[in-house]
């Protein structure tokens, strides 16, 4: 450090702003004033130089001899799952009060529900309401269960213990008024025999049925209109069985792990709400009373939608309470993989498509940069599969924006099972032909972006994109950090120099809050709106941002409103610490755009050059898929991935339900694992009230019996608001796995890898080695080397787990 020999600087140096300036803390007017003083005051400049030097030396102290290495840090990283479920306060007593209130409230509501429904059904039988209610809600009966419940909740339960925990909102408890009246024909559902226990197990779960807005197991008045397969008989049969079967599917998950439930237990499952260990007889009495109620209504799986999935929570707690088997009660999955559903009871599978790819990028950086297996929660299998490009055929007809294909082959990780792959291809738009684009790049230039894998990468990527645009396109650049600023006014894209210069001038600095960045970006986009073109804000951030609205909800509604007005939002995430990953994904979803995570120049090229039209141009929004399986051919099915995208059957036709978007040229792949009819009943007893469905019986009487499934797709054109329907009946026969197409086999390998990373109960006989073998075989032309890279990731995983 150059030391001045005297303290002449003394006076100038008295100003605290010298230090602030040296640390880069001055902003706006203050900054301007100071800098103008600097230009005239020599001593001040010297002081600043000295202080800057000192500041630099101080910063040099940071990473020094403390000897911190990334590798060591994992030792202090908490176990997050445990941490958020065991808040750490030793005394359960203090929380018990809160929990008590919760449980009492729940029980009261449950009791009133049971009361109402039971009354409707048992009215003729002369049981009194009060008797039922008393039994169901009796404190005595539930007391022990209550306590076990809390304790296991603390060990294995969800949610923090804050007052307004959104894990359970009493206000959302179903009120009796919201329950639909069961149809009389389904009274057949009652039975005095073994079916009792089948329903008993989830008698409590069931009554926790949420109001129309909540997810979890829903009441529906009946089945979907016009079932394609099967006859009316099995329809109403479905309404009875659907309930328990749907849940038993899930409970099978628990069962497999806990082995507390035997293979034949799906009809004789223990009550889930651990009435075991409590007066057994009383528990059973309640079960008996509610089983009839149980059977009347159809349950279908619903997404974790506006509020937390109450039923899933119930399962988490129940899992913990089963109290048997290894690890019972002390761990649980944060997302449950989609389970197998029996076609006879739940023939419809509905979900929203997803073309996000962020999960795969994250997994890749975890494996390659940190040499660790990614956390299970970060693994979204559908995003992994959809990361790769597949050679699906272009849509043939002009007015239909998609082509849909299906391939079925043997499943490589489960003997006797099959895989059905749905392949959707959105129409590609030639770059020359695409409509004009009006783009505003909204770039986070806060201090945290000043790392080599962030701002410089943003610059490179946007440069690459800008080079592909033409005179009909417009580009503007808005930055936000301490304040928002327009770095480049909207200019036609043939002014490459202006654009590239502006990008060059981007530099990081300043704090991350208090700006109006996103509003400014939208303003500019609207100002230069191109009718019939692409109008889009592209947000580039590392996630640590606050764009001037006071909360995430405001931000989301801003984005949503703008999307309605035709300005969409895409989000590009950078850097390894995307703090607001969930928010970024949500706003890009609401903004009718997509979310990609860019961790390298290659990825930037992929997203912004090769897939540019896809990234920029949405060809369909709110895209939903509904599959109906033919029980003649398929016994049960499991959707691999898309756990967060699952919809209720009735949502398929509900245009108000938001779903994913597809960009031009994007492909969407969904895999179902199928158990063919007759292969394996999985220990389920033959049904008493439904005709045994077999191929021999039905060919004469029913139509469409050579079809395996019916695929329906609803989408909304970007400028419209009503959905359109496409339908594709599929009649393939399954091929041997080795005969399946390369794309199919590769997708299967990726799915298997994802399941292994998630330690899914359905991974079957898959292993990293088998994944590598299958993937290697299916690398194919691989122009971008991405499949090869995948094989490399699998090898990393093998190394790590060796």
């Amino acid at each position: 450090m150059t030391v001045s020999n005297s303290d002449e600087l003394g006076k100038a140096a008295m100003d605290w702003r010298v230090t602030a300036y040296a640390f880069g803390e001055l902003e706006g007017d203050e900054l301007n004033n100071f800098e103008s003083r600097l230009s005239t005051d020599e001593t001040l400049r010297q002081a600043v130089d000295e202080f800057k030097e000192l500041a630099k030396q101080l910063e040099g102290l940071s990473g020094d001899a403390i000897g911190l290495e990334q590798a060591n840090r994992s030792s202090i990283e908490p176990n997050w799952e445990d941490a958020i479920s065991t808040p750490g306060e030793p005394a359960l007593v203090s929380k018990r009060g809160k929990h008590l209130g919760w449980v009492v409230g729940f029980l009261t509501a449950a009791a009133s529900l049971i009361g109402l429904l039971g009354w409707q059904q048992f009215q003729s039988r002369g049981r009194s309401v009060s008797e039922m209610a008393l039994k169901a809600g009796s404190q005595v009966t539930y007391e022990d269960a209550q306590i076990t419940y809390e304790e296991s909740r603390d060990e294995g339960g969800l949610a923090n213990d804050s007052e307004e925990s959104d894990s359970f909102d009493l206000a959302e408890m179903p009120s009796p008024n919201s329950m639909p009246i069961p149809r009389s024909e389904t009274l057949r559902g009652e039975s005095p025999q073994g079916g009792l226990n089948q329903n008993a197990k989830d008698s409590i779960d069931f009554t926790q049925v949420p109001s129309s807005n909540s997810p979890g197991y829903r009441l529906a008045e009946g089945t979907e209109a016009s079932q394609r397969f099967g006859n009316q008989e099995s329809l109403s049969g479905e309404t009875r069985g659907g309930a328990s079967q749907g849940v038993s599917g899930l409970s099978t998950v628990a069962g497999e792990e806990k082995s507390a439930l035997g293979a034949d237990d799906s009809t004789r499952l223990q009550p889930r709400f651990s009435l075991e260990g409590v007066a057994e007889s009383e528990g059973r009495v309640i079960a008996e009373q509610t089983s009839g109620v149980r059977g009347l209504l159809e349950l279908q799986k619903q997404p974790r939608d506006e509020s937390e999935n109450l039923l899933r929570k119930e399962l988490y707690f129940a899992e913990g309470m089963l109290g048997e088997g290894a690890g019972a009660g002390d761990r649980f999955e944060s997302t449950i993989d989609n389970p197998f559903f029996e076609v006879a009871q739940a023939p419809l599978s509905t979900f929203s498509i997803d073309v996000d790819t962020a999960s795969y990028s994250k997994i890749r950086s975890m494996l390659t940069q940190f040499r660790r297996l990614p956390t299970k929660d970060a693994v979204r299998i559908e995003e992994m599969i959809n990361y790769f490009s597949y050679d699906y055929p272009e849509p043939a007809q002009d007015d239909v924006p998609f082509s849909v294909a299906m391939e079925i082959a043997d499943c490589p990780w489960a003997e006797g099972h099959q895989l059905a792959r749905i392949a959707i291809k959105g129409r590609s738009i030639e770059k020359e032909v695409r409509a004009a684009s009006n783009l505003v790049f909204l770039i986070d230039v806060s201090g945290s972006m000043d790392q080599p894998n962030k701002l410089p990468l943003v610059r490179r990527g946007l440069e690459m994109l800008a080079r592909q645009l033409g005179e009909n396109d417009r580009v503007a650049i808005v930055v936000y950090a301490g304040a928002a600023g327009v770095v480049l006014e909207s200019t036609t894209a043939d002014n490459k120099d202006a654009i590239l210069n502006a990008l060059d001038r981007l530099s990081a600095g300043g704090s991350t809050h208090g700006s109006q960045g996103i509003q400014l970006a939208y303003e500019i986009a609207r100002e230069h709106f191109i009718e019939g073109g692409t109008n889009r804000v592209i947000l580039c951030t590392d996630g640590d941002f606050n764009v001037g609205t006071t909360g995430t909800e405001q931000l989301v509604s801003l984005v949503e409103n703008e999307a309605k007005g035709g300005v969409f939002l895409s989000v590009l995430g950078f850097g390894t610490g995307n703090l607001n990953d969930a928010m970024l994904e949500a706003i890009s979803g609401r903004g009718n755009g997509n979310y990609a995570f860019i961790d390298s120049v290659n990825e930037a090229r992929k997203v912004l050059v090769e897939q540019m039209t896809g990234t920029l141009l949405t060809i369909a929004k709110n895209v939903k898929i509904q599959v109906e399986f033919n029980p003649t051919h398929v016994q049960s099915y499991r959707l691999i991935g898309y756990e967060n995208r699952v919809l209720a059957a009735k949502d398929f036709n509900d245009d108000k339900k938001d779903a994913g978007e597809i960009g031009a040229g994007h492909t969407v792949t969904a895999l179902y694992e199928l158990v063919p009819r007759g292969y394996d009943t999985n220990g389920v007893d033959p049904l008493r009230y439904q005709p045994e469905v077999s191929q021999a019986d039905t060919t004469d009487t029913l139509a469409h019996q050579d079809e395996v499934l019916m695929l329906k797709l609803r989408y909304v054109k970007p400028e419209e608001s009503e959905s359109r329907l496409l339908q594709f009946p599929i009649g393939n026969k399954a091929a041997a796995f080795s005969d399946a197409s390369e794309d199919f086999r590769f997708a299967a390998a990726v799915a298997s890898f994802g399941m292994l990373l998630r330690d899914s109960p359905y991974k079957g006989s898959g292993s990293f080695e088998s994944v590598r073998r299958i993937a290697r075989d299916a690398v194919g032309a691989d122009a971008q080397g991405l499949r090869d890279e995948f094989v490399g990731l699998v090898e990393q995983a093998i190394q790590i787990t060796r």
């Binding site: 140096a13 030396q57 940071s62 923090n160 997302t335 996630g543 995430t552 610490g577 990953d581 609401r590």
Partner: protein
């Protein structure tokens, strides 16, 4: 709201990312404040993140770093206080003042050498570190928050309860002192 779609899994992802991004700065800060005691610094940081687990994300978004440092700082101060009291219980009168002034660590510092000696060895960094230890507690803390924690003035203000102007002033004082001391030492050598 769509946000609540992404429940526990996303929360954990967020926590994990928060950890990866901030833990190093927090540990560096805590370590300095605890005078090189890495174990306790790590403990403090771990506790900080355990606290984070219990927070609603909406409360913390937008000023996460400041929040983390606020919590970590409290933890660190608590630890120091306990240590002070422990030492006070066993200390002699002479030590006591030193302890109270927060120069607790001078006996555990990386070097108890005189600044002049350090300079002879040409170790400017060590000199600076040594000089920082000699600063009054508050200035030292603000400096660590700024440098190790990389917080902005506003974040430091939030973490310490001071006003931004206060922060600016004290940091400036610290810088002045350091600069003067560096000059003095270099002149002496």
């Amino acid at each position: 709201m769509a946000i609540r779609n992404y429940d526990k899994q996303r929360h954990i992802e967020w926590l994990r990312d928060a950890f990866q991004v901030h833990q190093q700065a927090l540990v560096a800060y805590a370590c300095r404040m605890l005078n090189g005691d890495l174990d306790r610094a790590e403990e403090a940081v771990q506790e900080t993140f355990l606290r984070l687990c219990r927070e609603q994300r909406e409360e913390v978004d937008g000023h996460l770093r400041a929040w983390l440092f606020t919590v970590c700082r409290s933890r660190v101060i608590d630890m120091q206080r306990k240590e002070t009291m422990r030492l006070a219980a066993t200390a002699s009168a002479g030590d006591f003042e030193g302890i109270q002034m927060g120069r607790l660590g001078s006996t555990r510092a990386s070097s108890s050498d005189l600044p002049e000696t350090i300079v002879e060895r040409g170790e400017t960094h060590a000199l600076l570190a040594r000089l920082i230890q000699g600063l009054p507690f508050q200035q030292r803390e603000l400096l660590h928050l700024k440098v190790q924690g990389q917080l902005t003035y506003r974040e430091i203000a939030e973490a310490t309860g001071l006003t931004v102007a206060n922060v600016g002033y004290h940091l400036h004082q610290a810088m002045l002192t350091l600069r003067a001391e560096m000059q003095r030492v270099e002149r002496a050598s």
